[in-house]
């Protein structure tokens, strides 16, 4: 019972955090009009619905199965993964691949109805989470975007949290909060401020040193 309350609290904290993230992103979108902000807001709506579903499922302990192995949990996992991949493709900007996540997910849903292919869902999400983590770190580093780097970490940690839910559901919720904290740091601009080197600023500082040295020599 006590564990259930802690789980409920953890999920509510995650919901509050995600609402805060959406609020910051909405304000950011009003400033820069970048569609990526809207995509991430939608992604967080999917995560929030998933959290609410997890709370309801924990309370009622009802698992609905359609066909062979299509559960609501798996459907949410596919929704989440599709949105993640779509955001990544939007960041990369390659229009040729935009339909890939949707087509793949539709087929996985059909396959789950006709056969138990749970292992493929696990492999798909696992490989994709690692792939997105590495590529988003690379992209974020190249574009000097803390938001993109922390999004990579968020996706990876959220993926890890999903694998926890099957065994120790509380750990999953705590991981989600941890992931949300990291992403909040990213969207608030702290990564750019403390981790990236501002080349112009550095040049200005160095030139000041040289000036000082020259002045001292005089």
């Amino acid at each position: 019972m006590a564990l259930d309350i802690v789980f409920l609290m953890a999920e509510l904290i995650f919901l509050a955090f995600s609402a805060y993230i959406q609020f910051i992103l909405y304000k950011k979108w009003l400033d820069d009009n970048n569609r990526i902000d809207i995509y991430i807001i939608i992604y967080f709506i999917v995560l929030q619905i998933n959290s609410i579903y997890l709370i309801i499922q924990k309370a009622t302990e009802i698992t609905l199965v359609v066909g062979e192995a299509l559960t609501l949990t798996r459907l949410f996992v596919l929704f989440i993964v599709t949105t993640q991949l779509q955001i990544f493709l939007y960041v990369v900007g390659d229009e040729r691949f935009y339909t890939l996540p949707h087509i793949f997910s539709i087929f996985l849903v059909i396959n789950l109805i006709i056969a138990d292919i749970g292992i493929y869902i696990f492999l798909y999400t696992f490989i994709l989470d690692i792939f997105l983590l590495l590529l988003l770190i690379l992209l974020g580093h190249r574009n000097q975007s803390g938001m993109i780097i922390t999004l990579g970490f968020f996706i990876f940690l959220y993926g890890v949290s999903s694998s926890f839910t099957a065994t120790v559901i509380l750990f999953g919720s705590l991981f989600k909060i941890f992931a949300a904290i990291i992403f909040t740091i990213g969207i608030l601009g702290y990564v750019e401020k403390y981790f990236f080197v501002d080349e112009e600023h550095e040049k200005a500082v160095k030139s000041t040193w040289i000036s000082k040295l020259v002045d001292e020599k005089k």
């Binding site: 040729r96 339909t99 890939l100 087509i103 793949f104 539709i106 087929f107 056969a115 493929y120």
Partner: protein, 218 residues
């Protein structure tokens, strides 16, 4: 009559067995030469190469088995000659249709749809394997091939006439003959059409099919 049928079948089959790899090789050589001289890949030619490659894959083993003693060594089901089950033959036909749709998307510059047919067909084949060869995918594959072949055929003509594109129009005629030969079945008419497919393929491969003076390729 049976002897006459055997003669027409032999002529039709051996023509395609000989000409299919030649026309594929011609397109490949032209593609490579163009790439070497311009340092750019001609995507229309690349797609035509893949269509011819799939055509060779579909037609050569089936036709060889029909007119040689190999039918006593290799079971016909291992290669297949119909569309109602997923076999190497039907997969090759599926790939032909898929590349045809890719070509239409490319010719019309529908960027979102460039690779979509490839994703869909990959998902059909992957799902068939992942679901331990579920029979639903036999019907799915057949349905996809027939519907998309009609759709592709229509769009080849529309694109060919609208954009005055020799490639689309040529492939439209090529697919019309191929489609007609499938409908005609195993008889003298079917054999004549099989012979004509090879001839038309050779004309396209050699670049002689140019009803419009200026070829629209990029």
């Amino acid at each position: 009559m049976t002897d006459f049928r055997f003669i027409t079948q032999s002529i039709g089959n051996w023509t395609t067995i000989i000409i299919a790899p030649i026309m594929t090789a011609i397109v490949a050589i032209r593609l490579w030469n163009e790439y070497k001289s311009t340092n750019q890949l001609n995507y229309v030619r690349l797609i035509i190469f893949f269509i011819f490659l799939a055509f060779s894959w579909a037609i050569i083993p089936t036709n060889i088995i029909e007119v040689t003693v190999l039918s006593e060594i290799i079971p016909e089901e291992a290669i297949g000659n119909t569309l109602d089950t997923i076999t190497p033959y039907s997969v090759a036909i599926g790939l032909m249709v898929t590349f045809a749709l890719t070509m239409i998307a490319y010719a019309n510059q529908w960027k979102y749809l460039y690779l979509t047919p490839l994703f869909v067909y990959f998902c059909i084949v992957f799902s068939y394997i992942a679901t331990s060869f579920h029979p639903l995918y036999h019907s799915f594959n057949q349905f996809y091939i027939l519907i998309m072949a009609v759709f592709g055929l229509l769009f080849f003509y529309i694109t060919g006439f609208r954009l005055k594109d020799n490639g689309s129009l040529g492939l439209g005629i090529f697919f019309t003959i191929a489609f007609a030969s499938v409908i005609a079945g195993e008889n003298v008419v079917g054999d004549i059409l099989t012979f004509l497919i090879a001839i038309m393929g050779m004309i396209i491969a050699l670049g002689y099919f140019q009803p419009y003076k200026q070829e629209v390729e990029e």
